[in-house]
Symmetry: C2
Subunit: 456 residues, 2 copies
Amino acid sequence: MLTHCVRDVLSGRLSKSKTSQCCMTLALQHTRRYSSTSPSEDLDPLRTFLELCANRYYISPGQTNTELFQRGRSCSYGPLGMELKRNLLEQWWRSVTRSKSQVFGINTLSSRKDTATGGLRIVESEHVKQILEQQELSREQLVQKVQMLLQRSPPVRTDLLQGALEEFVPSLELVNRKLPFGLAETGLCFQPSDGSGCSAEVTQTSLVWFCSPRTSSQWLDHWTRQRLKWWRKFALSPSDFSSSDVPEEELEEAASRGVRIVYSFPWGQEPLETLWSRGNTELLHTHEGAHSTLQCRNGRKTVPHVVSLTGNMDRGVMAFLSNSLLLLKNVDGKQKLQQRQVLKLHPVLAPVKVALDLGRGATMELRQVCEGLLQEFMEAEISAWPGYLDTQSTSMEQLTAKYDEMGVLFTAMISENTLESGLLQVRSRDTTIKETMHISEIKNFVSRYISAADNV
Amino acid sequence: MLTHCVRDVLSGRLSKSKTSQCCMTLALQHTRRYSSTSPSEDLDPLRTFLELCANRYYISPGQTNTELFQRGRSCSYGPLGMELKRNLLEQWWRSVTRSKSQVFGINTLSSRKDTATGGLRIVESEHVKQILEQQELSREQLVQKVQMLLQRSPPVRTDLLQGALEEFVPSLELVNRKLPFGLAETGLCFQPSDGSGCSAEVTQTSLVWFCSPRTSSQWLDHWTRQRLKWWRKFALSPSDFSSSDVPEEELEEAASRGVRIVYSFPWGQEPLETLWSRGNTELLHTHEGAHSTLQCRNGRKTVPHVVSLTGNMDRGVMAFLSNSLLLLKNVDGKQKLQQRQVLKLHPVLAPVKVALDLGRGATMELRQVCEGLLQEFMEAEISAWPGYLDTQSTSMEQLTAKYDEMGVLFTAMISENTLESGLLQVRSRDTTIKETMHISEIKNFVSRYISAADNV
C-alpha cells in the first residue's frame, strides 16, 4: 500500500555531512553523483531528494519509496506539491490554448467507445463478492453473472483522446469547418494495474489537433518544437529535457510517426509527453465512417488527420522538482564549509512566492502588519506563506535553509524597523542578497519579478 | 450509452412561437411554466433548456437526455461548458483558500483506507474474462482467482474526505499544531454504478476543517453561511439556492449534524454541497487511534473535530446554467412581439467575456485588427470569442441572438469606422445598449466591468 510503504525510510535521515558528497546540481550530475559515491557511504541521492520533497510539503510523507517513482507511479501531494502541479497545469493550459486562436478547451467523460482503455471498468467489490458467495449458483451461472456485472460497470479511461475524437463533430460548426483546429483537455486518467494494488491515477494533458492530411507531419514537428521549448523554459538545466522519435517497432497501431519528450531522471529517461501523427482511422471509427459529416473545407474536401499530444503532469512535477534541486557549497569568512540545498523552481512554478516572517519587535503589532500584507498578496494572487504564524523560535539560518528547500522566492522580514519607518528586509532565494525596501513596494516588486521571468 | 442516448431529441426542435408561452426567467417561474402549458403544445422547458446548452457549446449534443440530468449524472462539456466549470472551480478555490489564511490546498490519491467508497475498484475486464474462460478451473478455484484479482485492483473513491484525513498529520507541523485549519482539494470522484453503464464521474470540491470539539457546531454554521452566500453571489435568482438541516434519520454514521445547500431545479431540489459536523471517530480510525500524534495545542490538548464540506461542481454548473436562462418578450416599435433567450451568467462565471465580429469594410484589414485585439484580450486573461473567423453571413439580429444564448457579455463590432477613427461599437448583453468607444479603451472597459461585478 502506498501510504504504508516506507515511513521507515524517513526515520533514517542522512546527516548533512554525507549529502556534501554531491556538489552543484543534482540534475546536472546524475552520473557523477552515483559514481562518486562509494557503497560504504550508503548515499542514495534519490532517497535524499524524496525526503526533502516530503519534509518540505511537496509530497506526502508516506511516498518516499524510490521504487514507486522509478515505476512512474504518481503520488499524493502536500500543499506545496499541489500548488506546483496547479501552476504547471495552468502554464500548460495557457501555452496550448493561447498559442493559437483555434484551440478550444473541452471536458469529456469516459465513454464506451474508449477502445484504447483495454476495458478498464469500475466495479463495486461488494457486488462481485455477493455473486461469488451465492452457493446455489452453478459454475456457468456464476461466470454469466460476473460477465453481466462487468458489462454494466462504468468505464474509466487511460487517456483523453477518445473524448476529443467524439467532440470533433460538434466542434466543426464552431470553427466553421475550417482546419486546422485543436481540442484541449486536462484530466484524471488511469493506468492499468501493475498488481501492486497501488493507485494508478495520473493527471494527463491532451491536445488533439485536427489538420489536413498533407500538413500533419509538419504540425507534428511544430508541436514538438513548441512543447520542448515549453518544458525547457521552466528548467534549471534545460538539456535534461529532450525529444526523440519513437522507433518504428514501438509505433502505436494507427500512428505513422511519434515523438517523445523525455526527462533524464536519476534512474533513467522517462517520457513526459508523447506526440503522435495518427492519421484518420480512429476518427472515422469513432464516427462510424460517416465521411460526409467529418469533411472539412480545406481546399479539397477531406477527412482531417489527427496529431495528438499527451502529457503526464505528475511526472512533470517530479521532473521539475528533480531538475530544480541545487546543492551549494560555500566557504564562509571563517573558512568554514557551508552548504545549502535550494529548490530553484522557476518563479512562475514556485508554489510560494514570498514568505512573511517576524523579526524583533512588538509581536502583536508586527503580526497585524503581516496579516495585512498577506491579505494584499492574496488579493494580487501572489501566493504568500504565513511564516509569522510559526511561533517556534528558529535562527535566521534555519529559517532561510527551510525556505530555500521549499523553493520560496523571497523572504520578507517584518520588524521593529517596519513599524517605525515602513521598511522591511527582503531576501532573494536566487541571489541570497538582502534588500531593504518600503512595505508599499514589495507587492509590485515580487509581481514584476515573476512577470519578468515569465516573459524571458 | 450516454453519447448514443438521445440525438433524436435534438431533431424535434421547438418553434420560437411555442417557447413564448414562458415569460421572464425560467428559474423564477418553474411552477408557472409548467402549469401554463397545455399538454397539446408538447412544451418541455427542460428539454428546450438542454437543447440550448447543446447548441451553444455548453454540453455535448448527445447529452440532452432529461432523465439523465434528473438522476444527477454529470455530462460531457463543450468548450463553453468547460470554461464555465473551470471558472466555477476557480471561484470556489479562491473563496475557500483565501477566506482564511489557514486553508491549505492538497492533492491526494485514492487509498485503501477509503472505507467510505464501498469498495469501488478498477479492474481490467480482459483479466476477468481470461479467468472466467479458463475451463480447467473448478468453481472454487474460479471464485478464489476472481477474489484475488479484486484485492489487487486499485481503488477509486467516492469523495475526497479520506485523503484529507490522511494528510492531517503531515499538515500539523505546517500550522504549528494550532487549530483551526483546513485542507482543500478538488478532484474527480466516482459514484457507484446505477446499472445504466453510464459514466459515474463527478468533479467534487472538498474542504476538511479541523477545529476544537467545542467550536465544531459554530464552524458548521460559519461555513454554511459562507457557502450559501457564495452560491447566491453568482445567481440571477438567489432564492433558488437554499440551505436546510439534514433530518436526523439521514445523518451519516459519524456525523452529529449535517446541512445541505440545495438548488431548486425544474424537476425538484438537488443538493449542491453538503456540510457535516463529523466528530473525530474517522480521524482516529484513519490514524489507528494514535491519540498523541493527533493532539493539537488549543488550550487543552485535544484531538480535533472535523467539519467537512463536499460540493458537486457538475451539478453546480447545471444549477447556474438553469438559473441564468432568461426568456424575454418585447414589443418593438412596429408593435411586433420580439423574444430573446439570454443566458445571464454572472460576469465572473461567463465563459466568453467579449466576442469580436466584423462589420462592413475591407475584410482583410479588419481581420488583422480583430486578431490584434484577440491577442490583447488573451494576454489580459479575458476570454474572447473569435467571431470574425465565421465567414457565413448572418444578420446582426441572428448574431446577437446567438451571443445572448451563449451568455457573451459584450459584442464588439470592428468596421470601416474602426480603421478610420479607431472607434468600435460595443453591445452589452445585459443592457442591450450599444456604446461607441475607442479601440484602446475596450480591454480596460471589460476588465473593469468584471471586477466591479466580482466585488459586489
